[in-house]
C-alpha cells in the first residue's frame, strides 16, 4: 500500500470538502477512505432539496450538493477508496483499513482528518417499552430503504422525535402514499429546523405533538399499534393522556450521535456535550495532526456549515503536513497548550466549537459555532472576554434545532494579551 500524507476517514460532505481544500492548500498526497460504495455519504439518500443555499446560492438536492464536491475531487485527481472500512487509527496516525480488493492494510499518515459523520440514536437507547417487532426504524434507515433501495416500510406511520430526518421522512412517506398519523416530540420544542416543520408537517396537515412520547409498542411480529402519552415537565408520561394509534410503522428521529469509536480508541479527548472531539481553533484534536470536521465533531443543522468547517480542517491539515516536512517537527498547529484561550459555553449556550483558541495560530477571522439548550425569545447572545462583555447581539428567537455562531477577529484578540477565557452565554437583557 502507498503512503499518503493525509488520510481522510469518510467520503461524505465533510471528507470531500476537507480533501478539496487540502489539495488546494498544496497537499498532493491525499487518500479518502469511504465505507459505502459511493462518495457523498448520507447526502446520497437525502433526495429532497434545500441544500447549498449558503454555499452555492441555489437550492440543490443532497446528491446534487454532494456531486459538486465529488466533481472537484475527480478534477483534482484526489485518490479515494470505496467499500473500505477504517478499522483503527493509532495514536501515531497509522490508519488500518480493509476492503475486498486490498484486504487489510495500514497507512502511516502524517495527518488524519476525522470525517466519519454521525449515526442515529436507536430504539434500544431510548428505553421505549413494548414489543420489539419488525416495523420500527430509525428515520435514516427508513430513508435509505425508500430513497436508495426503493421499498416502503409501511403504510400507516407514527414518528417519534422531530429531528430533521424525521420531519423530512414524514413528508417523504406521505408523498409515497403512506398516512403519517402524527409526530410526537418528547421536548416542548422541536429538535428540527423551523422550515422543515412548516414544509414537511404543516403543509401536509401532519400534527406535531410536543411534550409527547411513545409509552407502548404493540405487535409480536410486526408493529400493529403504538400508544402516545403527554409528558410533564419531568418528561415522564402523564397517566390518563394516552392515545392509541393503529399503525404498521414507527419511525424514530430522536437525536444523532457523532460516530467517534475510532477517535476514542485512538485516545482522542472527547467533549461529553457534543460527543465529538475537543478541538482547537485549527479543528485539531489533542493528537497533533489529527483534525475533525462535520458531524463527527458536532451535529450540524446545515450541510453548508459542514463544508465550510471541513474546508478549514483540510487546509489546516495541509499546513500541518507541509510544516512537518519543512521543520521536521510536529507542524504549525501541533504542540498547543500553554497560551491557549479557553472557550466556555454557559447559561443557555450548550457548547462551542472550537474549545480553545491559540491567538497566534488563528486566522484573521474565526467562526465559533454553538447551540442553545432551550428556546429563547428576544434574548441576547453575549460574549465575554474574561469579565468584560464585548458582544451583545439581540436575537428574536434562538432554538436548539439551529446552530448559532459568533465571529472572533484576530486583531480584536490581540488587544487582550492576557485573555484567559472567552465565555458565550444567552442573556435576557
Amino acid at each position: 500500500m502507498k503512503d499518503y500524507d493525509i488520510v481522510i476517514v469518510g467520503g461524505g460532505p465533510a471528507g470531500l470538502a476537507a480533501a478539496v481544500s487540502a489539495k488546494k492548500a498544496g497537499c498532493d498526497s491525499i487518500l479518502i477512505l469511504e465505507r459505502d460504495t459511493e462518495l457523498g455519504g448520507i447526502l446520497n439518500q437525502c433526495i429532497h432539496n434545500g441544500f447549498g443555499l449558503h454555499t452555492f446560492k441555489e437550492e440543490l438536492t443532497g446528491p446534487e450538493y454532494a456531486y459538486r464536491f465529488v466533481e472537484q475531487v475527480l478534477e483534482l485527481g484526489i485518490e479515494y477508496k470505496l467499500g473500505t472500512m477504517v478499522m483503527d487509527i493509532a495514536h501515531d496516525k497509522t490508519v488500518t483499513a480493509m476492503n475486498r480488493e486490498d484486504g487489510m492494510f495500514t497507512i502511516p499518515a502524517k495527518a488524519v482528518i476525522l470525517a466519519m459523520g454521525c449515526r442515529e440514536r436507536p430504539r434500544g437507547a431510548l428505553n421505549i417499552p413494548g414489543y420489539r417487532p419488525a416495523g420500527i426504524f430509525s428515520a435514516g434507515t427508513a430513508q435509505r430503504l425508500v430513497n436508495i433501495e426503493g421499498y416502503m416500510p409501511g403504510k400507516e406511520v407514527v414518528i417519534l422525535g422531530s429531528g430533521d430526518i424525521g420531519l423530512i421522512m414524514a413528508r417523504r412517506m406521505t408523498l409515497e402514499g403512506a398516512k403519517v398519523k402524527c409526530v410526537a416530540e418528547l421536548m416542548p420544542y422541536s429538535g428540527g429546523l423551523k422550515r422543515n416543520i412548516v414544509q414537511c408537517l404543516d403543509d401536509f396537515g401532519i400534527p406535531l405533538k410536543l411534550s409527547h412520547t411513545v409509552v407502548d409498542i404493540e405487535g409480536k411480529e410486526h408493529v400493529t399499534a403504538v400508544t402516545i402519552a403527554e409528558v410533564g415537565p419531568d418528561r415522564k408520561p402523564i397517566s390518563g393522556t394516552e392515545e392509541r394509534y393503529t399503525c404498521d410503522t414507527l419511525l424514530l428521529s430522536c437525536g444523532l450521535i457523532p460516530e467517534n469509536e475510532l477517535s476514542q480508541a485512538a485516545g482522542i479527548t472527547m467533549n461529553p456535550v457534543t460527543s465529538g472531539p475537543v478541538v482547537n481553533e485549527s479543528l485539531e484534536t489533542n493528537i497533533p495532526g489529527v483534525f475533525a470536521c462535520g458531524n463527527v465533531l458536532h451535529v450540524h443543522d446545515l450541510v453548508d456549515y459542514v463544508s465550510e468547517e471541513a474546508g478549514r480542517a483540510g487546509a489546516n491539515a495541509a499546513r500541518y503536513v507541509s510544516c512537518a516536512v519543512e521543520q521536521g517537527m510536529q507542524g504549525a498547529t501541533g504542540g498547543g497548550g500553554g497560551s491557549a484561550i479557553k472557550l466556555v459555553a454557559t447559561e443557555g449556550a450548550r457548547y462551542t466549537v472550537p474549545n480553545t483558541i491559540r491567538p497566534d495560530k488563528m486566522e484573521d477571522i474565526l467562526t465559533v459555532r454553538f447551540r442553545v439548550g432551550d428556546v429563547y425569545k428576544d434574548s441576547f447572545v453575549s460574549v465575554y472576554f474574561d469579565d468584560e462583555r464585548i458582544l451583545h447581539n439581540k436575537k428574536r428567537i434562538l432554538s436548539p434545532g439551529e446552530m448559532e455562531q459568533i465571529v472572533l477577529r484576530k486583531a480584536q484578540l490581540a488587544e487582550y494579551p492576557d485573555l484567559k477565557a472567552i465565555t458565550v452565554k444567552i442573556e435576557k437583557e
Binding site: T96, E101, G135
Partner: protein, 484 residues
C-alpha cells in the same frame, strides 16, 4: 415413523437432539417458529450458574452442577465462546450475612466446587465497583458466561450434522396415541408418527403435556426484563454480580457478557401471556433501581437495548424431566426455567439416558462429535485476515460496523446447516446488528445479502419469520423493477 420426535428447538430441545444424535435412530425436531432459539433460550441472562441456588436433592441442583461441568468439553467440541468469569453473591445488609453461609452450605451439598465466602475487603478487591454497602460475598469461581444463541445453535447444528431432522413453522396442534402405542402428532401441515415424544416446548410445555395426560400441569410465565449496555462499559464488573436471592428468584444480576457488553436483569413478574415478551416502563425502572444497589455508578445511560424473556415457571419450582405416568413413551422437559440454560446439556444427557434405557439403541459409527463455528474475523492478525480475504473477498467487506461483522460471516451464517433465514437469524449467528446502532446501518445491507443468497425478493425478507416483513412494498414508479 420416527423413533423420537422432539417438540421445541430451544436450548432444551436442541440439547436433547444433540445427545440423541449419537445414536442410530430417527429423530425429528418440530419447531413452531422459523428458527432455533426463538423463545426463552434467546432472552435470558446468558449465565452458566455454579449451582448453589437450587434446593439440595432437587433435579435443578443436580442438572445445574452437571451442566456446568459439561461446559468445558462442550464449548471446545462445539466451538462456542464460554468463559468461567466467576460469580459473586453480594450481601449489602450486615444482618443478612447469614444468608451467604446458607448459600455456601447448600452449594457444598450440591457439590459446587471452589466456593468461598469473602469479607467486604476481599470482595472489593476482586470487584472494585461493588457498592460501598457491601458486607461480604459468596464467590463461585465455576460460574461462567456463554453466548446463549450459539450454545443453542451449536447443539442443533451438530445434531443436524448427525442426521437429526428439523422442521420449522411446525406447531403441534394435537397429539394422539394409536392402538400400537405410537404417537401421532398433528402440526398445521402434516401428521408425524413417533415411538417416543419429548416435550421441550418451553412456556408451552403445559399445553403440550396436557394434550396427553390427565394429570394437568401449569406453566406460569414469569417475565424478566433486561437492559443490555454498550461494550464501552462492558468491563464495569468482571464477575457476575448477584444480590442475595429471594422467593422470586436470584434477583437482578449485573454481568459482563461473553461478547463484552454489560447485561443488567432480570425483573420477575408473573403474567398470563405466553407471548408476553414486551418490556414495561415499570419493569425497566425497577431494574435500574435494583441494580444500582449492588454496584456503584452503574452506567445505565449506556443502554443499547432492552428486552424481556419469559421463564417457564412451574409451581413446584423444579424441573419436570420424566416419562409421563399416564402417557408411556411421552417424556416431559417442563418447568425449565433458570438454571435451564446451564442445565440444558445435562437435561439432554438425562433424556437421552431415559430413552436409551427404554429402547436400548446403539451408537452410530459415523457420529461426528465436533462442530466448527462461523469464522470469526474479530481478533485475527493482519496476515490471517489477509489470507482469509484472499480466499474469499467477502471477508474484506464489513457489513455491521458496530460489531465489525463481514459479508463473509453473514454468507456463511446463511448457508450453514440450519442456516439463517432472517435478520434475527443472521444476528444471532454472527452478531451483525447486535451492536450500539442496533442494525440501523446494516439491516438494509444484510437484507440485500439475504435476498441474494436465498434467492427471495427483498420485500419478502423478514426480521424473524412470519409477518415480520421489513419493507413489503416498492416505492412509486419502482413497481416494475425486477430483481433485488
Amino acid at each position: 415413523m420416527y423413533d423420537v420426535v422432539i417438540i421445541g428447538a430451544g436450548v432444551t430441545g436442541s440439547a436433547v437432539a444433540w445427545q440423541l444424535s449419537r445414536y442410530d435412530i430417527n429423530v425429528c425436531v418440530l419447531e413452531k417458529c422459523e428458527d432455533v432459539c426463538e423463545g426463552t433460550s434467546k432472552a435470558n441472562s446468558a449465565i452458566i450458574h455454579a449451582g448453589y441456588d437450587a434446593a439440595e436433592g432437587s433435579l435443578m441442583a443436580k442438572l445445574n452442577v452437571r451442566g456446568n461441568e459439561m461446559m468445558d468439553e462442550l464449548s471446545k467440541d462445539l466451538d462456542i465462546p464460554f468463559k468461567r468469569n466467576g460469580s459473586l453473591v453480594v450481601c449489602i445488609h450486615k444482618e443478612a450475612l447469614g444468608g451467604l453461609q446458607e448459600l455456601y452450605d447448600r452449594g457444598i451439598k450440591n457439590k459446587v466446587k471452589g466456593l468461598k465466602i469473602l469479607s467486604r475487603e476481599e470482595a472489593l478487591e476482586l470487584e472494585p465497583n461493588l457498592s460501598e454497602d457491601v458486607q461480604g460475598a459468596l464467590f463461585a469461581p465455576s460460574a461462567g458466561i456463554v453466548c446463549p444463541f450459539e450454545l443453542n445453535i451449536a447443539m442443533a447444528e451438530n445434531a443436524y450434522d448427525n442426521g437429526v431432522l428439523f422442521k420449522f413453522h411446525s406447531e403441534v396442534k394435537d397429539i394422539k396415541k394409536d392402538a400400537e402405542g405410537n404417537w401421532h402428532l398433528n402440526t398445521d401441515k402434516e401428521e408425524l408418527v413417533a415411538k417416543y415424544v419429548v416435550n421441550a416446548a418451553g412456556v408451552y410445555a403445559d399445553n403440550i403435556h396436557n394434550m396427553v395426560s390427565d394429570n394437568k400441569i401449569r406453566i406460569i410465565e414469569r417475565r424478566g426484563e433486561y437492559c443490555l449496555l454498550d461494550k464501552q462499559v462492558g468491563s464495569h464488573v468482571s464477575h457476575t454480580i448477584f444480590p442475595q436471592p429471594t422467593k422470586l428468584g436470584k434477583g437482578v444480576l449485573i454481568s459482563p457478557t461473553i461478547h463484552g457488553n454489560l447485561i443488567v436483569g432480570p425483573t420477575a413478574t408473573d403474567i398470563e401471556n405466553k407471548e408476553g415478551t414486551n418490556t414495561t416502563a415499570e419493569g425497566i425502572e425497577d431494574l435500574i433501581t435494583k441494580a444500582g444497589s449492588h454496584v456503584r455508578n452503574l452506567p445505565i445511560k449506556n443502554v443499547i437495548t432492552s428486552f424481556a424473556g419469559l421463564r417457564a415457571h412451574e409451581e413446584h419450582h423444579d424441573f419436570i424431566i420424566k416419562e409421563v405416568e399416564d402417557a408411556p413413551g411421552f417424556i416431559d422437559c417442563a418447568g425449565i426455567e433458570s438454571p435451564g440454560l446451564t442445565a440444558s446439556p445435562a437435561i439432554g444427557e438425562m433424556v437421552a439416558g431415559i430413552l436409551k434405557d427404554k429402547m436400548g439403541f446403539k451408537e452410530k459409527d459415523s457420529y461426528r462429535k465436533t462442530r466448527k463455528g462461523i469464522v470469526k474475523t474479530e481478533g485475527l492478525s493482519l496476515d490471517e485476515m489477509n489470507e482469509l480475504i484472499r480466499k474469499n473477498p467477502a471477508y474484506g467487506n464489513i457489513i455491521c460496523r458496530c460489531e465489525m461483522i463481514t459479508e463473509g460471516e453473514i454468507i456463511e451464517a446463511i448457508h450453514r446447516p440450519l442456516g439463517a433465514k432472517s435478520l434475527d437469524g443472521v444476528k444471532r449467528r454472527t452478531r451483525a446488528g447486535m451492536g450500539r446502532c442496533q442494525a440501523g446501518f446494516c439491516s438494509p445491507r444484510t437484507m440485500e445479502i439475504l435476498s441474494r443468497e436465498l434467492g427471495i425478493p427483498y420485500e419478502e425478507i423478514t426480521k424473524s419469520g412470519g409477518s415480520s416483513v421489513i419493507a413489503p412494498t416498492r416505492t412509486k414508479g419502482n413497481e416494475e423493477v425486477t430483481g433485488a
